[in-house]
């Protein structure tokens, strides 16, 4: 999770930098967006890793594809949609909002609410009960 555009921290730049190529963008915000995005795309060939962490050649190919789509100006949503159209929803670590995933996406709110209700009811019941003297 990178919540922060890596501003002054990102620097394959500066006078002493000379590499063949960088898998990234010169623009720090775009680069941060890219890094966040690749952590959420599945490496299809690996066992449950993202393309950001996989040493496989295919992961490198997919990263390149993501970069070229971002360079064309496509949004994260568009990139995910494109990949899902080729590989299925399976490639997205962030499941889409569809009827089959409604339960998944509504669960957090439902459970927090449910938890709140349980808490309130138990507390109310206990408030009516006697308190014994504690040693």
């Amino acid at each position: 999770m990178r919540w922060l555009p890596a501003l002054m921290l990102l620097a394959v730049s500066g006078a002493s930098a000379q590499v063949d190529s960088v898998e990234g963008f010169a623009d720090p915000e775009l680069d941060a967006r890219y890094r966040d995005l690749i952590h959420t795309i599945r490496c299809m060939q690996c066992q449950n890793q993202s393309i950001a962490e996989s040493p496989s050649v295919i992961a490198a190919d997919l990263r390149r594809e993501v970069r070229s789509m971002m360079a064309e100006g496509r949004s994260n949503g568009e990139i995910r949609e494109y990949l899902a159209s080729r590989y299925g929803d399976f490639i997205n670590f962030l499941p889409p909002w569809k009827p089959s995933t409604w339960l998944l996406w509504m669960a957090p709110a439902l459970l927090m609410l449910g938890g709140g209700v349980v808490f309130a009811r138990v507390l109310r019941a206990r408030m009516r009960q006697p308190m014994e003297k504690l040693e």
């Binding site: 997919l62 594809e65 070229s68 590989y87």
Partner: protein
């Protein structure tokens, strides 16, 4: 009395949840989590135009195989399963099945040398330098083989080496059924 009854059933909830989970697990044991249905099956094969492996000044494109049922095989010279399936591909080519290749993540010289050594079953092989064609076809490993009908629709997308069993059991029926609309 009835108040106790209405409260008491709550204690059965955990057991009920476990029962439901167990049912799903039972079903899950019969499935294979690695298998994945591709969204490209029964869709039009994506367009492409790539340089030919043998002669880079020529292009190989989707138009080349229009009008025939063909196999499109994604391969390279270093993947072990590609070697495994190669004899069967040669066999298919010998009996007249048109096979087109996409050479991906490979070195051109090594690819040509390998084909020289083991035989070339391909009508033509395209070189996907950038990788976006393979990705457009939803390829995530090598080898992968596509069965494409004369109209250019993908009938089967098979991940892994192509074996006689897959040919007979998966591809032949698909040629008959022709993507029946459900």
């Amino acid at each position: 009395m009835s108040m106790e009854r209405t409260k008491a059933w709550r204690y059965a909830i955990p057991a009920a949840v476990l029962a439901v989970l167990a049912a799903f697990f039972f079903r899950g044991l019969q499935l294979d989590p690695a298998y994945n249905e591709s969204p490209l099956v029964c869709q039009a094969a994506p367009e492409f135009s790539l340089p030919d492996l043998a002669d880079p000044s020529r292009r190989v494109s989707r138009a080349d195989f229009a009008g025939r049922t063909v196999l499109l095989n994604v391969w390279n010279s270093w993947c072990a399963p590609c070697r495994e399936e190669h004899p069967f591909l040669l066999e298919l080519a010998r009996i007249g099945v048109p096979i087109y290749g996409i050479n991906w993540d490979d070195d051109r010289d090594k690819a040509l040398a390998w084909l020289n050594e083991v035989g070339d079953p391909f009508v033509a092989s395209a070189v996907d330098e950038v990788g976006d064609v393979a990705i457009a076809y939803g390829v995530y490993g090598y080898p992968e083989t596509f069965l494409i009908n004369p109209e250019g629709t993908i009938l089967v997308k098979h991940f892994g080496p192509l074996t006689p069993e897959i040919w007979a059991g998966k591809m032949a029926p698909a040629m008959e059924a022709e993507c029946a609309v459900d």
